[in-house]
Symmetry: C2
């Protein structure tokens, strides 16, 4: 795969841009017209220099002494992040996790549309999520994916079934995979894979608690 122009921006930057967008949407709802990088920074515990650097990558947005226009910056970020066109999403696996994701606030709005869930269990196929996305048989993935221009497949099956779910998505020509299963997947080089490890945040919290214990208790060896 050749190197692409857009890939120079790191995932961490993209994640920060996504957070800025959430903040701007909130400010917009509250009727705020302009905001300084310092205010944005305070809100998300970033440095204002970081924000200015991130946004400068994409052009000049701020006005010195005035700050950013909330409305304009929001629209720009939506465009930068590729959310100005609706992205079709399917969820493979209609168990608890798949159903939760189908109804998750933000998954099925603002740039994303959950086209359908897919499963093989007879008791599930033919049903629908609370938000109205139909549950279809996995054998129909290819047909639906090409007809509805699906761009992201979310893998929400148990670890043991994750590779065959990924294979089905690849076979259906879906270009990107968001994997929630705690399994390492092999995908074709043309496919973009992102793994979500829900455990990482729990571990990070456990670390904070342990650090608190260590500093509160008697001083120990530095391991």
């Amino acid at each position: 795969m050749s190197r692409r122009r857009g890939e120079k921006v790191s995932d961490l930057t993209t994640q920060r841009l996504s957070l800025y967008l959430r903040c701007l949407e909130e400010l917009d709802r509250q009727g705020t017209d302009t905001i300084s990088s310092q205010h944005l920074a305070d809100r998300f515990h970033f440095s204002s220099a970081q924000i200015r650097k991130d946004l400068a990558t994409f052009g000049e947005f701020g006005v010195r002494g005035v700050g950013y226009s909330v409305g304009k910056l929001k629209v720009s970020l939506i465009r930068i992040l590729g959310l100005d066109r609706e992205v079709g999403v399917v969820i493979v696996g209609a168990g608890n996790l798949g159903m939760a994701l189908a109804d998750y606030g933000g998954f099925n709005q603002k740039g994303f549309r959950i086209v359908a869930l897919f499963d093989v269990a007879p008791g599930k196929v033919g049903g629908a999520s609370r938000s109205g996305a139909p549950i279809l048989h996995l054998s129909r993935l290819g047909e639906v994916a090409s007809g509805q221009k699906v761009q992201i497949a979310v893998v929400a099956v148990p670890a043991a079934a994750a590779q065959s779910a990924a294979d089905a998505a690849a076979g259906a020509g879906i270009p990107a995979l968001l994997n929630f299963a705690p399994a390492r997947l092999r995908v074709p080089p043309s496919m973009t894979l992102r793994n979500v490890d829900l455990r990482t945040q729990m571990v990070s919290l456990a670390y904070r608690l342990a650090a608190t214990r260590r500093s509160a208790g008697p001083r120990r060896d530095h391991l």
Copy 2:
């Protein structure tokens, strides 16, 4: 809140340590005795310099020319991350998301124990997750939290109910909160709050797809 010794290590470092641990667990299962920082780096697309820097923070682990002992490093990371003592976890909300998290691979093992789920719906209270965690009435949170030394409350309720779930956890004296609801929560200063935004990863994927389109299509303005 006073500055604590352990807090000097950033969340990003903690998340990387958590990833290293996962990799080491896999290597250990496969019977690998030693691994170089380069091999670890290749596996997770980090730089080997980054790995050496992260681990050097906690002492000297590697042997030049030999690499790290997989078993020893694993045990050290478990200790550093605070996973050598079992952390009691409760999940507030026994809907699809709460039930999915209760059975999620890795959430209920290796350092974490799901003590119970809590809900108020009569149809749910009295039931259990597939993994056997009981669903109790939310009014019992305080009693269970103090009796079972619960340290983390996972918020898995809709956005509108998230603040009262957080308040209940704070009232029960639980020191840390892992919030999956797409809502901004207010917690007492003594409480550690971590927000998990499931949407961020979707946005990051959408960005990659947009970047691919931009580079494949005719050259456009830099916005």
